[in-house]
């Protein structure tokens, strides 16, 4: 029985890898047998070759680095502003009342629609790319933070009051820590849209000469399909790594959220 379950877990674990390899193999064979032109669909092997070529001439490292810097800058601004405003809204009814209609009006707006205005105001340089990603990431962060602060368990607040905490101590020692899981949820959402908006912003505005988005649009324009695929692969891997990193930080900073269901 245990042997069988061991075997089945082993095959369960191996299954995703086997499927990935099978798909890549089928792709490679299909392209070669049917003689599909690499402009339409390059085989995986030549994508790998391109990946190494881009690594050797440094274009991958440079453009990836630039994109990551923009993501980091946009996300940091959004995180600091979003968490700060969310906490203020949660703690002061006046602030919440004033800010609420602005968020309600601006949140549903597709932020990509702001690109023309931002290009007029800021040009197509760094500022515009950081601004568009920060503005987009700001909303989910501020909304989650505010919701987290407001949804604090009333029982915990009462218990703290009973144990002698004053208003300020309740805010700092109970309300804000209790909101951490939902603040993190907002940061996750914010990071997701930051990546999207930075890459999108790099693709728009032809004066932009760097970044993964630029690399993609440029390879599309000169029909270097291999390069476009290679850039996509890199973006997918980097995206997955960012998510893993965030999950790791969550576990380090807020380990209790993993035990939450046990209550």
């Amino acid at each position: 029985m245990s042997k069988r379950s061991n075997l089945s877990t082993l095959s369960e674990r191996a299954a995703p890898t086997i499927v990935i390899i099978a798909v890549l193999l089928a792709w490679e064979l299909l392209v070669r047998w049917r003689g599909i032109a690499p402009i339409y669909l390059p085989p995986p092997s030549s994508i790998v070759v391109y990946l190494f070529r881009m690594l050797r001439d440094g274009s991958l490292e440079f453009n990836l680095g630039v994109t990551l810097l923009r993501i980091f800058a946009g996300f940091s601004i959004a995180a600091i502003a979003g968490v700060t405003l969310g906490v203020l809204m949660g703690m002061s009814r006046l602030v919440a009342r004033i800010v609420d209609p602005w968020i309600a009006a601006l949140y549903p707006l597709p932020k990509i629609a702001l690109i023309p205005l931002l290009v007029i105001w800021l040009g197509t340089g760094e500022l515009y790319k950081i601004a568009i990603s920060a503005v987009t990431a700001f909303f989910p962060i501020v909304i989650s933070t505010y919701a987290g602060i407001r949804q604090t368990d009333r029982g915990l607040v009462k218990a703290a009051r009973d144990l002698g905490a004053n208003r300020q101590q309740i805010q700092l020692k109970v309300v804000i820590p209790a909101a951490v899981p939902s603040i993190f949820a907002g940061l996750h959402l914010g990071m997701g849209v930051t990546v999207i908006l930075v890459v999108a912003a790099e693709m728009i505005g032809s004066s932009s000469q760097s970044g993964m988005g630029f690399l993609l649009i440029q390879s599309g324009q000169v029909m270097e399909t291999e390069k476009a695929f290679a850039s996509l692969v890199v973006l997918a891997i980097v995206g997955a790594l960012i998510i893993k990193l965030q999950q790791w930080i969550d576990r380090k900073v807020a380990p209790w959220t993993a035990h939450r269901d046990g209550h």
């Binding site: 368990d153 029982g155 915990l156 009462k158 218990a159 703290a160 009051r161 009973d162 144990l163 002698g164 905490a165 004053n166 101590q169 020692k173 109970v174 820590p177 209790a178 951490v180 807020a254 380990p255 209790w256 993993a258 035990h259 939450r260 046990g262 209550h263």
Partner: protein, 270 residues
Amino acid sequence: MEVLVENVTQVWPGRKGESIIALDNVSHRFASRRFSCLLGPSGCGKSTLVQIIGGLEPATVGRVRVLDPAQPHVPRATGFDSVMVWQNLNLFPWRSVLDNVAFGLEMQGLPKKQRYDRAKALIGSVGLAGFEAHLPGQLSGGMRQRVALARALIMERPIMLMDEPFAALDAQTKIVMQEELLRVFDQTQKTIIFVTHAIEEAILLGDQIVVMTARPGRIKEVLTVDLPRPRSLEMVNSKAFGALFDRAFHLIREEVMTSMAQQTVPLGAS
């Protein structure tokens, strides 16, 4: 410390704009250094009453006074002499056992070393030594209960209010915690007001059982438990225990029926 509940009435706004009377003109004197149990059907306002006593809810009408029998003329503000152990514990899930227990001292501004020393001693005394760094979510129900008890005891307040603290525990853990609480009561001689809907628990723990009616909560009868202390679980089989149980059961039975009838929902209503 004795607790004087004077003509307390509590009214909640209902869903359809009506008024729900949770407590109706309740008056009682909880004697100093005695273990009193509030026994009643669910929804009879016993939790509300302990929260009013603890200064955590204002009473709609009436008041609660805390008196030191040695200085009966010195008025005291409610809330500062009592500490609550909650039904759902209300432990801070992000704080370790040590920081949960030390919470009250931290709020008082006690330096880290001092508050940790006292917290560690208490954690040891409730049998949790070695678990200081654990988070509440990593502990079993009985261990979390001990953390909640230690967090209340560290306040060294003369009155301990307990709102069905053992209701969520399994039968065996409950017995162990009841023994633990009896030990604490014998050692500290606090005034304890303990809310429960379990008759055996009320008899085993209390000196006095305040039986409450179904909503609107009133005091139906006050029973005196004259079993000797220290109490032990064997007393459950004694004749005196059986007689008290019958008495309390008959008092509470009627109220439970009324309470059940109140909680039925007409068909079609949601």
